[in-house]
Symmetry: C2
Subunit: 341 residues, 2 copies
């Protein structure tokens, strides 16, 4: 490992001071210099392949130029658009983005240390739904690094953003009602904030349609939540002819379980899941979903970090625009007369 080449080295080789080198590197016009000098420095810079030391820069500038995004499971396809939105917005502001998984945020972990310690991360976007250790949350709240919570209501200093979960629950339910269903169940998602909101939307929509809302079939997340949820939903009386599932992954799991139970989808049961993902198009039957503006959520979250760094007041809240949108696929259809009950 050879020694790092510094501005000092460049200065020596170009016969100028480090101030000049720094000015050239940063494109600062403040220190005006002759074209001749600039060219000479630039020549040396590219010749030796100079790269600035980010640690030194961050220390001096008191800003790292990097924000961290921490989510529950990085491989959840639901985040794809959000990551994209975050990346674009961050790059536009001159920030790099790094990702991490919530399960890495354990007390004492080096990942957490990097998040908490100032100097390498300027802001944190956190998808948190009550799953994080309370000690860790307290630490996070105590730190000065701004934290914007995504889809949760626990934000330190009130910086939180969420998609319209109530609206998603409503529109999913409305879709099934419009198809003619009256016996509709709500499956999945445990007792987390987002579930509560989505389930609320379901309840409201059912009531408005003069239908009776059912108890939440609470089953956590993941594929398995879908299969367990199906069994529990089918045990309800009267037997539902349609279900709203709390998320795509559980929706896929529910579809698989329905297949195993010998149910025809959508003939025997209509299914719609909240959140859209590519996989919904790649299972059979395809899965109807509600698409939420995740890319916009990401963009707004980055703006909120900027707001926090500027010391401006939070603009917390729910993203109502664009509105949740039903993407009808093969898993939802009008109820059939021959539907088992």
């Amino acid at each position: 490992m050879t020694r790092m080449v510094t501005q000092k080295d460049i200065a020596r080789r170009a016969g100028v001071s480090v101030s000049v080198v720094s000015a050239v590197v940063n494109g600062t016009s403040h220190t005006r210099m002759s074209d001749e000098t600039r060219e000479r420095v630039e020549a040396v810079l590219t010749e030796v392949g100079y790269v600035p030391n980010d640690a030194a820069r961050s220390l001096r500038r008191q800003r790292a130029g990097t924000i961290a995004v921490v989510v529950e499971k990085v491989d959840n396809p639901v985040y794809r658009d959000m990551f994209h939105g975050i990346y674009d917005a961050a790059e536009a502001r001159g920030w790099a983005v790094v990702l991490g998984d919530t399960i890495w945020m354990q007390s004492g972990s080096h990942f957490l240390a990097r998040l908490l310690g100032r100097g390498s991360i300027d802001g944190i976007l956190l998808r948190h739904d009550g799953i994080i250790d309370e000690t860790v949350m307290r630490l996070l709240r105590t730190q000065q690094t701004p934290v914007v919570t995504l889809e949760g209501r626990h934000a330190p200093d009130g910086r939180w953003l969420a998609v319209d979960d109530v609206g998603a629950g409503r529109i999913a339910t409305a879709h099934l009602i419009e198809l003619g269903h009256r016996e509709i169940a709500y499956v999945g998602g445990g007792r987390a904030f987002v579930t509560t909101a989505r389930y609320d939307g379901y309840v409201t929509q059912m009531r408005e349609a003069g239908l009776t809302a059912r108890a939440l079939v609470a089953t956590e997340f993941g594929f398995e939540a879908g299969s367990k949820g199906l069994v529990m939903a089918l045990a309800q009386r009267p037997r539902p002819t349609a279900v709203v599932v709390n998320n795509v992954i559980s929706g896929i799991g529910l579809l698989a379980a329905a297949h195993d139970a010998g149910l025809q989808i959508p003939e025997d049961l209509s299914v719609i899941a909240i959140h859209d993902a590519e996989i919904a198009d790649n299972v059979r039957p395809t899965l109807s979903t509600v698409k939420l503006p995740m890319a916009e959520l990401g963009t707004r979250a980055v703006e909120e970090i900027a707001t926090a760094l500027d010391g401006r007041p939070p603009r917390a809240g729910i993203l109502h625009d664009p509105a949740p949108q039903v993407i009808m696929r093969g898993s939802s259809a009008p109820p059939t007369s021959g539907q088992p009950s």
Copy 2:
């Protein structure tokens, strides 16, 4: 935004020098001090909630304590175990891990700047299969930050690691042969390195069994590659009774396309995909796969970074242990006599 509290502040409040504070913070025994002093410092430390500045630390230590992992699509479920292996190994060595997506590595992006610039990232694990801009690769090669390439053969200074792709291709093919298939096609994955290796395994295994290997049905990656691949494979004569698919995602896509084409899986066509993921269990029919030791790959990759940082020679190569393993599910079965041809 209040000013950051520094060791200097702690020192003043505790009535000691910063050397002592630093020693307490780092648990350094070098500077022995009285228990009384240590306790006093610790009290102040916790009282004000001191957190070290990582930028200053990195600069002084000439090491950031963070490694970056950059992969093609972070939401590819294939990486889940690998991330886990990387995280565990990194934490054990005292390193934090941050994740990024390959598509962020564009010339001029701040993400790339952070990767290239020394000081904030000590090493890079890169899943690269020929998709990255050659300019970027050259920059990466030029930098001093060690890069370990995962599943590719392009590693700068020869630090690369891969799972046994040839073995995976062989064992997948062997599985179908053992079931009694003789007309077996290979679908998906374009012309990337991993594909070449897996396809090679298929060819070898076919030959050893005295069967004729077919031309690669080259269709890139993703779900769509599976559907396109199916059409192309079915056009081959004699029509195959079984296919090896280059990866799980394409395998799912192929299953969906087969359903749309009215094919019964596995009766009309047996399918096995390389790489295992939870989703393989959650589609119907379930998808047979070959599981590769991704967690171990992650662990070894972290060790390789350590090797590089210590200036020790590369231990590049293929991970043969544990060996690829067939996970038979519902998509593969013996050929049926009534199979269409």
